[in-house]
Symmetry: C2
Amino acid sequence: MTPRHPNARTLKESAKGIPEATVARLPVYLRALQGLKDRGVATVSSEELAAAAGVNSAKLRKDLSHLGSYGTRGVGYEVEYLVYQISRELGLTQDWVVAIIGVGNLGRALAGYGGFASRGFRVAGLLDADASIVGERISGLTVEHTDKLETIIKDQGVSIAVIATPAAAAQAVCDRVVAAGVTSVLNFAPVVLSVPEGVDVRKVDLSIELQILAFHEQRKAGGPHEEYIEVHP
Amino acid sequence: MTPRHPNARTLKESAKGIPEATVARLPVYLRALQGLKDRGVATVSSEELAAAAGVNSAKLRKDLSHLGSYGTRGVGYEVEYLVYQISRELGLTQDWVVAIIGVGNLGRALAGYGGFASRGFRVAGLLDADASIVGERISGLTVEHTDKLETIIKDQGVSIAVIATPAAAAQAVCDRVVAAGVTSVLNFAPVVLSVPEGVDVRKVDLSIELQILAFHEQRKAGGPHEEYIEVHP
DNA sequence: CAATGTGAAAGACTTCACAGCC
DNA sequence: GGCTGTGAAGTCTTTCACATTG
């Protein structure tokens, strides 16, 4: 609908409506591109970038085509320009304020994770319900009591909450952060969270990943006729 | 530079042909069922179980139909029986031996994670390259030096390696565990690992999850009227 | 009757293969 | 010549809707 420059896509879906599968890969491309940039590479072909990102090149080109026409035929993509375009598309040109709730082993690991700041995520609060660790300093932040959850979310403008509490506490914490205005939640607790329409939840679950691996591992070890025969040099 | 296939080639489909998307949901159903079992529920309908697992009921029934006909029409599924069938399908009726390589914040969190033992995953080793933490005891295990990686993998029969090292070390560690016989890898390092055919890699990446949330968050904030693309030659 | 199990339809995603442009 | 961008084909996944069965 919105007018764009002349020779742009005739496709029904204009630049908005990027497929979810594509969105999930953009951060991977971004990381690969940043690696290339650090190594001083100025231009990259879809074939090379795809290899660095671990996908096939047709998929990469199709993915990028959803953002616009940022490549040059016969040449490839300009690394720095593409970094900027993907960052912008992902919303990384602005800063996001994050709160981590639950300062156990995992919460501590997350608090110390370097990948935050470098990508525009600012941790504005570490909160825990356990009074014995409130006040402790971790990675430059002081642990606050969860009583202050609503205050911190509002005062600091938190828009993403990371839930790293025990399973039993997760839904209650989630309800509170949502009530306080958070609309994106990254959940590490092993429960399915219920949220109102309009709130996004993503789940990271270690035990599920291991179980999926176990399933495949079992198939490799046991099954009578497997079709993926391993060729051994 | 050995030529390798980038990206873990997902093993096609298992002998019984359970779709990958279904496999990824079985652990979620299993957890929901275990919750029901703990609450003394004996029988559950697809509608109820689907709600507990956060999926739609047609999908649940289709998923379960790939395992066999374990329900009773007009009644539902017997909780305990279904727990057993899914566990068996996932390979959780046997024990899996896991090694965690990289004992930083994240490695410690993983070592202390309770969801392991309860699901048949036994952590047989914690390894790190940093001599200053070798010997430290964490969650009942002594940290070993990565020099012993091959020995531990072989002696203990490790089949799943969890890589929680810094990005720069991850590929080398991966190569070593694969050479020592590991065929399933859970990777927490922010790199794309290359592995030979037949090795399964799953990746967990905090920063990618946050970036995906940021993308959606940005869309919400902007409303249905953003999108003016500058033409940048 | 109630709820499963499942063909068939719809939708999403991936891959192919090549036209078009540099 | 080389490489992008993309329709079209192919594959996988979800959803629908209902015949089937205890």
